[in-house]
């Protein structure tokens, strides 16, 4: 590393930066090594998380046993936002540095994010029914998550709308970034709209802080979700890369056949 006498190998030696892992082949190698760890860690976290959430954590003094929905619901909502933030970063690096890996990742992550968002909405409805007496209320947070879900659906539809997959990924990247700029405004406007139209008809979780016996299962579940997302993202990104490779190989074969 300290050798500077020969400049040629230095020049082509890849720098160990963020871009180092943007090479698809290198990504696959790293991902293959990381995957089993992710998988078993996810399995353990989700197992421990579910057990502690369903059997160990205490029932809420007000909400009773239904509070256990929280352990599925809250991490899902966190993931919905976390995955979108990831997609926005990937989209930016696709548009700025044209990393093909970033496009594959954003495309791979979108349905997972949409699924987590749907899970948050779905479990929210099941939590809302006993707590608020309705499956759905136009609460500010519910509404902004619903809009996030729509943005995910738009992203998924746009990625698949083109005959040229590269174009789909780039168009979806622009949409993802525009959405990222808009999401805070949407969140803010929805908060405001809600306080304007139906002031304080909904009491949120009254406790400002959460007891550690409930916090730990929640955090373990969140880590489990995160690792589960990593597993799915690795599998889906790899299959995206393989599909792209297969496309370019069959195109090359076609050109070779036509040229002769």
């Amino acid at each position: 590393m300290s050798e500077t006498t020969s400049t040629a190998p230095q020049a082509i030696a890849p720098k160990r930066s963020f871009h180092y892992f943007a090479n698809p082949a290198r990504f696959v190698r790293v991902a293959d090594a990381v995957y089993p760890w992710c998988f078993y860690a996810a399995l353990i976290c989700l197992g421990v998380g579910f057990y502690t959430a369903l059997f160990v954590a205490p029932a809420d003094y007000q909400q009773g046993e239904t509070v256990r929905i929280m352990y599925v619901h809250v991490p899902a909502a966190w993931m919905a936002m976390f995955i979108y933030a990831n997609m926005a970063l990937a989209s930016a690096s696709l548009l700025i540095w044209r990393h093909p890996l970033a496009g594959a990742f954003a495309k791979a992550a979108a349905p997972i994010g949409a699924a987590f968002t749907f899970l948050a909405l779905f479990t929210g409805a099941f939590w809302g029914k006993p707590m608020w007496g309705a499956w759905w209320v136009w609460d500010a947070r519910l509404t902004s998550v619903l809009i996030l879900f729509f943005i995910y659906l738009g992203h998924i539809a746009l990625v698949d709308a083109f005959d040229n997959p590269d174009r789909g990924q780039k168009a979806a990247a622009v949409l993802c970034l525009v959405g990222a700029v808009n999401l805070p405004i949407i969140k803010f406007s929805v908060d405001w709209w809600n306080t304007l139209h139906q002031p304080a008809s909904i009491t949120k979780l009254g406790t400002p802080s959460i007891h550690s016996s409930m916090l730990w299962p929640l955090l373990i579940m969140a880590i489990g979700y995160m690792l589960f997302f990593a597993c799915l993202a690795i599998i889906r990104t790899k299959s995206e890369l393989l599909a792209a490779k297969q496309r370019s190989l069959s195109l090359r074969a076609l050109h070779a056949g036509g040229g002769d």
Binding site: L95, I147, F150, I151, L153, G154, A157, L158, A161, F162, D163, R167, K170, A171, V174, L175, L177, V178, G179, V181, N182, I185, I186, F188, S189, V190, W192, W193, L196
Partner: protein, 221 residues
């Protein structure tokens, strides 16, 4: 600036020569809005209460209807590609096209809005606020819509895709627009909502042309 004016003049002339499209948007606006009384009943108080929302939602849909027009014809006959390879800034060209779109949709919709205000018994003191919100808010609809229109160029089922991309992003405009009119109806000052509407528009004035130009570059690459 000359480029801007040249593209604007060209797009306006094209739009005016097909003034049927223009009339369709306004007709759609009035027709769709006049369906609501059939749905919710003719109670004047209820209609007055719903008027800001109905006007804004139908304006949003009417703008949606016309979005494809911004780029599609130019994309199909190749002039968009010429504009892209010309030395002028594509962002400026896109902004001119968006302005032309607003002048031929947002502005006519705003001028048609008083008809709906009468049909829905909107209190007359709220009418100036309604028109002001439309005047400030509809350019934002054109700016956001242009991004959706540019992104779907060359897409399969592009026309169906645009609403899916654009509608969620238009939620803030809808909220602040109706919020201002609601405030005016109940006698509160509407400045806060109007200012926020303007702020969203100012942000989109920057984001819209940049994102739409990026999408156009991808489309004609």
């Amino acid at each position: 600036m000359n480029t801007f004016l040249a593209v604007l003049r060209r797009d306006l002339r094209l739009a005016l020569r097909r003034s049927g499209d223009l009339a369709t948007v306004v007709l759609f606006f009035i027709l769709t809005a006049s369906l609501f009384p059939f749905g919710v009943g003719p109670d004047p108080n209820l209609l007055a209460r719903m008027a800001p929302g109905i006007v804004w939602v139908t304006a949003l849909l009417a703008v949606l209807l016309s979005l494809e027009r911004i780029f599609l014809a130019d994309y199909e006959d190749g002039s968009l590609e010429l504009l892209r390879i010309s030395p002028v800034s594509l962002e400026l060209v896109v902004l001119a096209k968006i302005t032309a779109h607003w002048l031929t949709t947002g502005l006519p919709l705003t001028t048609a809005a008083p008809i709906l205000a009468i049909l829905f018994n909107l209190p007359s003191e709220a009418l100036p606020t309604l028109l002001l919100t439309l005047l400030i808010g509809t350019p934002t609809l054109s700016l956001v819509g242009a991004v959706g229109a540019a992104l779907t160029l060359g897409a399969r089922r592009g026309g169906v895709l645009i609403p899916l991309l654009v509608l969620p992003l238009n939620v803030p405009v809808l909220i602040f627009g109706t919020g201002a009119v609601d405030a005016a109806i109940s006698g509160f000052p509407a400045q806060a909502n109007l200012a926020l509407l303007g702020a969203v528009g100012a942000l989109m004035l920057f984001v819209g042309p940049v994102a739409a130009a990026a999408a156009v570059r991808q489309a004609v690459e």
